[in-house]
Amino acid sequence: MSEVDMAVIKPEMMKSYIWLQTADGSIQQVEQEVAMFCPMICHEVIQKGMGSSKNYAISLPQRVNPAMLSLILDYCRFHQVPGRSNKERKSFDEKFIRMDTKRLCELTSAADSLQLKPLVDLTSRALARIIEGKTPEEIREIFHLPDDLTEEEKLEPLKNTTDDPRIRLLNRLYAKKRKELKEREKLKNVEAEEERVDDRSVDDLLSFINGDNGDSKGIKTSKSKKKNRRRKDQQKSTSANEANKNHSEESNGLNSVCHSSEVDQKIQPSIGATSNLQDVEDDIFANKNEFDDGDIDDEIDPALKEKIDREVEDFARRLNSDWPERMQEILSLGQERKAVHFPLNGNGSIRSRDDFKVRILP
């Protein structure tokens, strides 16, 4: 119909239309009361006088494509009728919202650009229902999200718990792998710098070799970890415990590699410290990620424990003086994203060093 025809027929039809233009250029006309249900269109009509004819069609925001526009207009057409009961509206909404996730997201975006709050609310609730209760993998699959976080970043001490045992196992595996990688770095570091006096006993060597055979990475294995279990204590003692565990296991592995009094002073604390950090992180992770998982701690022979306690205090002192340099060295090992994340509420000896430029984030 030409505009003239419209002008003539309009009074008889007793209906006025608003002209809308979507981003792709197509223009359509919509009944006025339906279109005015959208605040953005309403604003354009009232404040700027647009939409009365084809030439002055209201340009809709880019996020509104024709398919979405027709959905939104369906919604408006139903809801702008005043006489509907709440029950009717609710049941319409429930049927309306049944669409695939992709269209749901597009609809949310389009409704938001038209400032149609009730529809945004409806779609966001629907999206929330889809997200709720699912594992991260499921969510990524549904919404086609790229899995572009490193495993470390995933394990950061955010509250990203999951009860899914597979995920828990995975997290633990990643934690171990990371630790192993770190240990390897320390090893390289150590070998490059310090002179070792090798006074390992034969037993030590044997046990080291055995441990090495069991795990090509050369450090504590999950087997040995599993052997020593201890029920989890409260937080304040766990860091010391973790350090203890570390030391007790290192007596199999690392210490035999870098065993000298000199080395003891310098390397052990830093290794102990880093691994302590990892362990504290793990502890925090364990606290947070594996709430039900009480089997990460180890059991320690009391006599050994005392010795270890002393060592812990020792290195804690050294840590406070040694730490910045050590960190620089570790960081400069050329591995990207080797971030060591410090627990925000860890224990006193480790946190809150200002030099820790450790969060490597995008």
């Binding site: 975006s109 919404f143 790229p146 509250k159």
Partner: protein, 432 residues
């Protein structure tokens, strides 16, 4: 690694990149906030592992709700649970950025006072608008004075707290809704609190200690719901008050009260409620209203009152008189609910009929729905129902629900017999 294979769209769209398929991550921030706000806090924070873009999307959600669902622990160790919960809340608050509008903490396990103090301090710095705190266990918790500095508060809800604002407290200038339950507060602090919140529209007060005279001075108050033990209630400047629900949880002895008081409590109660629309008189409040010399009707009828619910002991003379006064004073009443108070049957069943049929029919001109519950078929109750049925010309439905199955048949037989003024009236009998 289990997260390696991603299901790409089938080959019909080979050119679409992953980025194009991902429609949700690029929604505007406030929309994502809205989506995440509809999730429980666990799921919302878990989105941080979805992808790089989603890492900190959760950190801007303006609503934080920590309730019994946010911890999924099978352990029964109290300290363990408490520590975990404290950790979680600390972490979330620390990593949160942007304005925080709503915070709710309602966990059944015991939480430390210093922890809650710390969180309230954090919230008071972030222009919080809605604050809900429910202390399930332990003694009354005293919020720190920084809570009273939150001038952006619109809704405040406290359960099991002791309120003692600092001397410099001048009220919450933006508060519209106040919900205090199981609280301790002293008289003048309470009065100051109410009168210094000029925008207060809703007030709920349940089970309070320390206040005996409820003096409500709130010019914008629309909704008032109280249940507790008090001596006196009076309103000032409450022209907008439309919904009132009052329950007096203690049985007052009217004999001695009547000896002292001559002014009617009923009159005083209604003098400042000109536009009341819904009134619920619960527990023993009708006894309170019966104190003093009750007029036969109020001087200014409550023309807007269309719903009335009264808990009454049909055997008690004073209560019946008070109820009659109320019923005579609301000409436009549409819905009535009479709940019989389950008293011990120690009073002798009275033989007089309180509800004499005496030119009443003009006053129930709009009454359509009536519900009578908890009755046991005694004469006074049946007198009332008979009276009601013969004086409600437009009655549509009368629902009767007895207290027990004793005497059911007798009750029903009598009900059947009563004359009905309205030809449309349905009498529905519900099982006890």
């Amino acid at each position: 690694m289990s997260i390696v294979t991603k299901q790409r769209e089938p080959l019909r769209l080979p050119i679409k990149t992953e980025a194009e398929l991902d429609k949700i991550s690029n929604l505007p921030g406030h929309v994502i906030d809205q989506i995440l706000s509809h999730l429980p806090i666990r799921d919302a924070v878990r989105t941080s592992v979805l992808s790089r873009k989603w890492r900190y999307k959760w950190a801007t959600i303006p609503y934080l709700v920590f309730d019994n669902q946010c911890l999924n622990v099978s352990s029964q160790d109290q300290t363990f649970i408490k520590n975990k919960l404290v950790n979680i809340i600390d972490h979330v608050l620390l990593l949160h950025k942007g304005p925080l509008h709503k915070f709710k903490l309602s966990h059944r396990d015991l939480l430390g006072v210093t922890d809650i103090d710390r969180w309230i301090l954090c919230l008071s710095r972030s222009s919080i608008k809605e604050f809900i705190l429910e202390i399930w266990k332990g003694q009354r918790y005293k919020p720190p004075s920084c809570l009273f500095n939150c001038q952006n508060l619109i809704h405040l809800e406290l359960f099991n707290c002791l309120l003692k604002p600092p001397l410099t407290f001048k009220g919450f200038k933006n508060l519209r809704s106040l919900d205090l339950q199981h609280i301790t507060i002293i008289q003048n602090v309470f009065e100051n609190l109410i009168s210094s919140c000029p925008l207060l529209e809703r007030l709920t007060l349940m089970n309070f200690t320390g206040v005996t005279h409820l003096n409500i001075d709130a010019p914008n108050l629309q909704f008032f719901d109280i249940g507790g033990i008090f001596d006196d209630v009076s309103f000032q400047n409450t022209v907008h008050l439309a919904l009132v629900s009052i329950g007096l949880y203690v049985n007052i002895d009217n004999e001695e009260n009547n000896a002292e008081e001559n002014s009617s409590k009923l009159l005083r109660f209604f003098v400042n409620l000109p536009h009341i629309r819904r009134l619920e008189v619960q527990s023993y409040f009708l006894k309170y209203l019966a104190i003093g010399s009750v007029p036969s009707r109020l001087p200014n009828p409550c023309v807007d009152l269309n719903y009335l619910s009264i808990r009454i002991d049909f055997e008690d003379l004073e209560e019946n008189i008070a109820a009659q006064c109320l019923l005579r004073s609301c000409p436009n009443l549409q819905e009535l609910e009479m709940l019989a108070r389950p008293e011990e049957q120690n009073s002798v069943e009275t033989s007089s009929n309180f509800w004499e049929d005496d030119h009443w029919s003009s006053l129930f001109a709009h009454l359509r729905l009536v519900k009578v519950s908890g009755i046991s078929g005694v004469k006074s109750e049946m007198d009332f129902i008979k009276f009601l049925l013969s004086n409600s010309p437009v009655l549509e439905r009368l629902t009767v629900k007895p207290a027990s199955q004793d005497g059911e048949w007798e009750l029903m037989k009598e009900l059947l017999r009563f004359r009905r003024a309205s030809i449309y009236a349905e009498v529905i009998y519900l099982d006890p």
